[in-house]
């Protein structure tokens, strides 16, 4: 859990003058972003502004229409597929829809990044991780048996099991109540204190305000197809 890779370069993810077009239309342009180790940033903006797309650029699921995306010092267009796979082991992603392998119990789903990396999960560490996200009693439950909040926490546990350098979370509190949102936020703040770079895409301004009371967070906002640093209104 606490095995961060700080000191491997000042930026783990860097976007330079990135533009993204969909179906001939421009989604956003001239977006630059740097994720440094230990940084905590929010990405906000109206629905459809490109928050999810930007996150996908950050873990190489998409390549930009223009500009450069450097992931751990490597240009995303020059990455071979195996390089992309290895890079993703250093990036923990919490998806909006929290996709799991529904036929596998929760414990195996959480340990999936280790399995695909050819490593066996340490049973004690896995139990500790599940307890940390409050899911120890559900270790053998199948994902469809879990509630929205439980799925979000399971996705977070899966995202951190490889001790990644970066956590990317796309609307991590989208399907949960406020109490659960704060709990998830606390987990993300804890991870940030361990040295992980955290980028959260959300439209929940209350969550951003709650985070700012716990951690020094920068807020980036999509406006008019450009990414801007949000002001004191947040």
């Amino acid at each position: 859990m606490g095995r961060g890779r700080q000191g491997q370069g000042a930026r783990v993810i860097e976007l330079q003058s990135v533009a993204m077009n969909y179906g001939g239309g421009e989604l956003f342009a001239d977006v630059s972003l740097k994720l440094a180790p230990g940084s905590f940033q929010f990405l906000t903006g109206p629905s459809g502004a490109g928050k999810t797309t930007l996150l996908k650029l950050c873990y190489g699921e998409l390549v930009p229409s223009a500009g450069q995306v450097q992931l751990f010092g490597q240009e995303v267009r020059e990455m071979r597929r195996d390089d992309t796979a290895r890079m993703r082991r250093r990036v923990g992603v919490v998806h909006q829809d929290c996709s799991f392998l529904d036929h596998l119990p929760l414990a195996e789903n959480v340990a999936l990044p280790l399995t695909v990396a050819g490593r066996a999960a340490d049973a004690a560490e896995l139990s500790e991780l599940l307890a940390w996200v409050g899911l120890a009693p559900h270790a053998q439950a199948l994902p469809p048996q879990l509630s929205g909040g439980e799925r979000q926490r399971a996705a977070l546990a899966r995202a951190v099991i490889m001790a990644p350098d970066v956590i990317l979370a796309d609307e991590p509190t989208g399907n949960v109540d406020w109490e659960m949102s704060l709990r998830l936020l606390t987990l993300l703040v804890e991870l940030n204190r361990m040295g992980k770079a955290v980028l959260i895409a959300t439209h929940d301004l209350n969550l951003i305000r709650a985070a700012k009371s716990q951690v020094s967070a920068r807020v980036l906002r999509f406006q008019n197809k450009r990414l801007q640093v949000a002001g004191a209104d947040l």
Partner: protein
């Protein structure tokens, strides 16, 4: 029931468990592998049977030759004696004898009837030559015969052998083509089943890529599953095919294809290669399908 399912699941390596168990693609692969293996057993049996028949016919004709002596009646005995003397001194000749009038009658009977007045016809004298396993030098023998008995002509049965060997070779080729078609069809069926399974599991594949799975890892999970199914299905098909061959009624005619159909001796081991071939085909077909499909997912 649940405990048994858990135990069964735990017996599968974790890397293979990432692909959910699927219904119809599993049955399709098993059934097509079994059917194709069953047909392959018969094609293989056909190939081996025609091979054996060709070898036997060729061998039987190759071990005998005939010397035909056409000479005036006054010289016939002398030339026959000369031919026998030459044959007696020829290396590779196991035995040689002139056919008797009764044997000639039996030979010609089917064409001219039993009342053939053999003595009144100017028939050539036939000498039957049985070759030793080393065989004879046909050209050398012809030269010596022409010098000692000008009316003697050596027939080493080559012109009879050639069409028989050609016919058997064509049958064998047909059987081999059938085997090749069966292999290609098996590959096509497995590709279809694998593509259906991959398409049905595209979300699983996306999750695996998201958590850092390499293409080889994902492909291996599918390949393992389809290879095992093809192996098991083909093994069942081969077993059924061998049982069917075993209970095939024996034909009474010694030289018929039916009498020789099946395997002989160590040839019974040859069908054991069919499941291995099916597994190999499934491995290659699934791997190619998986890697092609995965290239479309980042």
């Amino acid at each position: 029931m649940s405990a048994r399912r858990d135990r069964r699941r735990q017996a599968i390596p974790a890397a293979a468990r990432v692909v959910p168990p699927s219904g119809f693609t599993a049955r399709l692969t098993l059934f097509s592998a079994a059917t194709m293996a069953f047909l392959a057993v018969f094609a293989l049996a056909m190939s081996m049977a025609t091979g054996r028949i060709a070898d036997r016919w060729s061998d039987e004709l190759a071990r005998t030759a005939t010397v035909r002596i056409s000479a005036p009646a006054a010289q016939m005995a002398a030339q026959t004696a000369a031919v026998l003397a030459v044959l007696d001194a020829t290396p590779g000749v196991a035995s040689a004898r002139a056919l008797t009038a009764d044997e000639m009658q039996v030979l010609l009977g089917p064409w001219f009837g039993p009342d053939l007045p053999l003595a009144s016809l100017p028939l050539p004298q036939l000498v039957e030559v049985v070759e030793a396993p080393a065989g004879i030098d046909a050209e050398g023998l012809r030269l010596r015969l022409s010098a000692e008995a000008p009316g003697a002509v050596l027939d080493d049965h080559a012109r009879w052998r050639r069409p028989l060997v050609e016919a058997a070779a064509r049958l064998r080729l047909l059987a081999m083509v059938s085997l090749a078609l069966i292999t290609v069809t098996t590959a096509a069926m497995i590709v279809l089943a694998a593509q259906a399974a991959l398409a049905a599991n595209v979300q699983v594949i996306r999750v695996l890529r998201l958590v850092g799975a390499r293409d080889q890892f994902i492909a291996r999970a599918f390949v393992r599953r389809f290879t095992l199914r093809a192996l098991v299905g083909a093994a069942a098909g081969v077993a059924a095919g061998l049982v069917a061959l075993f209970v095939l009624p024996a034909a009474s005619t010694a030289d018929s294809l039916m009498a020789d159909f099946g395997f002989s001796g160590a040839q019974w081991l040859a069908p054991l290669a069919i499941p291995l071939l099916a597994g190999l085909v499934a491995w290659g077909a699934t791997r190619a399908s998986a890697l092609t499909m995965l290239r479309g997912i980042r």
